[in-house]
């Protein structure tokens, strides 16, 4: 019997806090407790650290620090971007997004369509999960107020061509927002070259604790504040700064930039090893997404004739953490909206498992996973009325 390991392959859901981030944060739970807005030295020294953290986040995107607004999470960033832009431009009544966005974008759009009279266009994707940019060009109109397209998909890892999309939006004079919660820190995003107007970021996908995010707002973008209150964040988000977490996010961005090459090399090699290792021994297995344009850390594999929750529970028992687009895991009765939009057949939509790695994933963990998964799949298939060898 193989010795049991603990293997965390659900980094697109959340990640471990990096030791460096934790160390950077600790003083701000202790002696560095001042309010950065205060005139005295308690606040002043904290304010200095805040400036540095903001510079580190800005550096990851090659933008100016005053274009970064700290928020409480990725969802707040998305809400701020979408509702703030529409609030400041009430003339236009058409909004465009994709069917495969994270609920933190998609449900905001649908809420606005349902309750605020917006006409919504949700762009579809092809079988590989990619958008049709020609379709995008045709749907943007002079009445379009806002376009949101994610930089990379959380379930499949598909990377969307946000540079081209941003250029199309610019040409059509449409404000463009991208949810980069999954992409940021994993692939280079130089916003001097990519003309997005707004970009959402989440800390805990970058190895900070949960509870911190950021929104990049390109200078000159018309947007109303999301939390009205004090002068913090240049008046764009009231509320005393969440100092320890902001410091943590600054450190996390710095680390992400330092490890970006490693992410593309070490992490994608392990991901490819896992994928190849599983597919070479398990039949009736499909990759959901576009293998040629994916985040380096993500693979979404459909195992035919079995159901995801059952797979996850068996994996969990063996110490392996992953996630699934199966209906049963979510509490809803329908499988993942992303897989449905891609037209993934039911034979493996319910049996789709996402493995997402991080720079902390080791080769031994991947080897262990390659050993464990095939038996789990085999046992469940033997139990399935649909599987015939």
């Amino acid at each position: 019997m193989q010795e049991k390991m603990q293997v965390y392959l659900d980094n697109n859901a959340t990640c471990m806090v990096s030791p460096g981030v934790k160390d950077a944060m600790m003083p701000f739970f202790g002696e560095l407790y001042g309010n950065p807005s205060s005139m005295h030295n308690f606040g002043g020294q904290v304010a200095k650290h805040l400036v540095i953290a903001r510079e580190k986040v800005a550096a990851m995107f090659n933008v100016d620090p005053d274009e970064i607004v700290f928020t409480s999470c990725g969802s707040e960033s998305n809400n701020h971007a979408i509702r703030g832009v529409l609030e400041s431009n009430k003339e236009k009544k058409h909004i465009v997004t994709t069917k495969v966005e994270h609920p933190a974008v998609l449900n905001v759009y649908r809420f606005l369509a349902k309750n605020k009279g917006y006409k919504i266009t949700e762009l579809g994707v092809n079988k590989q999960g990619d958008l049709n940019l020609d379709e995008l060009k045709t749907v943007l109109s002079p009445d379009t107020a806002l376009l949101s397209v994610m930089a990379a998909n959380n379930e499949t890892g598909n990377i969307f061509p946000i540079k081209e999309i941003a250029e199309i939006a610019k040409e059509k004079n449409v404000v463009f927002h991208t949810d980069a919660v999954q992409a940021a820190g994993k692939i280079p995003l130089d916003l001097k070259k990519i003309p997005v107007d707004l970009l959402s970021l989440s800390g805990h996908k970058l190895h900070t604790p949960k509870g911190i995010g950021a929104l990049y707002i390109r200078r000159g973008t018309a947007i109303t504040p999301f939390i009205i209150g004090g002068h913090q964040e240049n008046g764009r988000r009231g509320g005393t700064e969440n100092v320890p977490y902001i410091i943590g996010l600054g450190k996390a961005c710095e680390e992400a930039v330092a490890h970006m090459n490693e992410e593309a090399g070490h992490v994608s090699k392990l991901r490819d090893k896992l994928e190849a290792g599983l597919r070479s021994v398990i039949t009736h297995t499909y990759i959901n997404g576009n293998p040629l344009s994916r985040l380096p850390n993500t693979t979404n594999i459909g195992f035919e004739f079995i159901e995801g929750e059952a797979i996850l529970l068996h994996l969990s028992k063996a110490g392996i953490a992953a996630s699934s687009g199966s209906a049963c895991t979510s509490g809803s009765l329908e499988p993942s909206h992303v897989l449905m939009a891609m037209g993934v057949p039911f034979t493996y939509a319910h049996g789709s498992v996402r493995f997402s790695l991080s720079r902390f994933t080791t080769e031994a963990e991947i080897d262990y996973t390659i050993k464990i998964v095939p038996d789990v799949i085999k046992n469940l298939r033997e139990l399935s009325p649909f599987y015939e060898e």
């Binding site: 159901e307 929750e309 049963c328 009765l333 449905m340 009325p385 649909f386």
Partner: protein, 279 residues
Amino acid sequence: MWDYTKSVIDHFEHPRNAGKLKDANAVGQVGSLACGDALKLFLKVDPETEKIEKAKFLTFGCASAIASASALTELVVGKTLDEALAVTNEEIAAFLGGLPKQKMHCSVMGKEALEAAIANYRGQSVEEHKEQEVLCKCFWVDEEKVRENIRKHGLKTVEEVTAYTKAGGGCGNCIGDIKRILAEENGSIVEQQVEQKKPKMTNIARMKLVSKVIDEEIAPMLRKDGGDIELVDVDNTDVYVKLRGACARCANAKATLKHIVEAKLRESVDEDIKIIEAE
């Protein structure tokens, strides 16, 4: 993560009586791949005594679906068919120390597979749902089943109905009807839904093109998955269709309509096309 009892986890990890039963003389199958769970139950019945001597199963589904099937086989072995028919889905759930509310339909599936297997043994045909009676088209649940569950289990909310029957858990189109039935069964008065107007046919050219695209491109695609589609009517850009075969019982009929049928027609005919599932 679901809050499963130790017994659910035990039956999931070590299912009793799993596999095919070669000498089965009664077989019942319910559910489908599209629904996300299915159960095939095999029984060996003694023709003299009508006692269930052996029971085995195959399940496609989540932990509680597997555990419910396992529990069912343990419950019915040794019982006569009539005794087995008296087993309720609550007994299956209770045998496992309870199921999360949202997973009660797993125990209902066990009960239905048992009924199907016994009907199969007795040479009765399993009742086919008539289309008009189907309330939840996503999970193919008829009104009678909803009423039965409301009465039996004292259900009060749409969420509870969904937990027990799955009805209302897909596209949500039948939630209004479920509310009405809940109100009727629970004795309060609600206004009747306004009847939908029957669309009238206009615009021959568009209709012809829609019909052509459905016949030549969409239907062949759906047939590959055992489904089919029927064009019912076209009213300007509103296209009324019915899904057939596997598609009609598909958990994601709405997704199919939206992502496959509507997308294709928008691409090939008119970007304003709206797909409406015909009543």
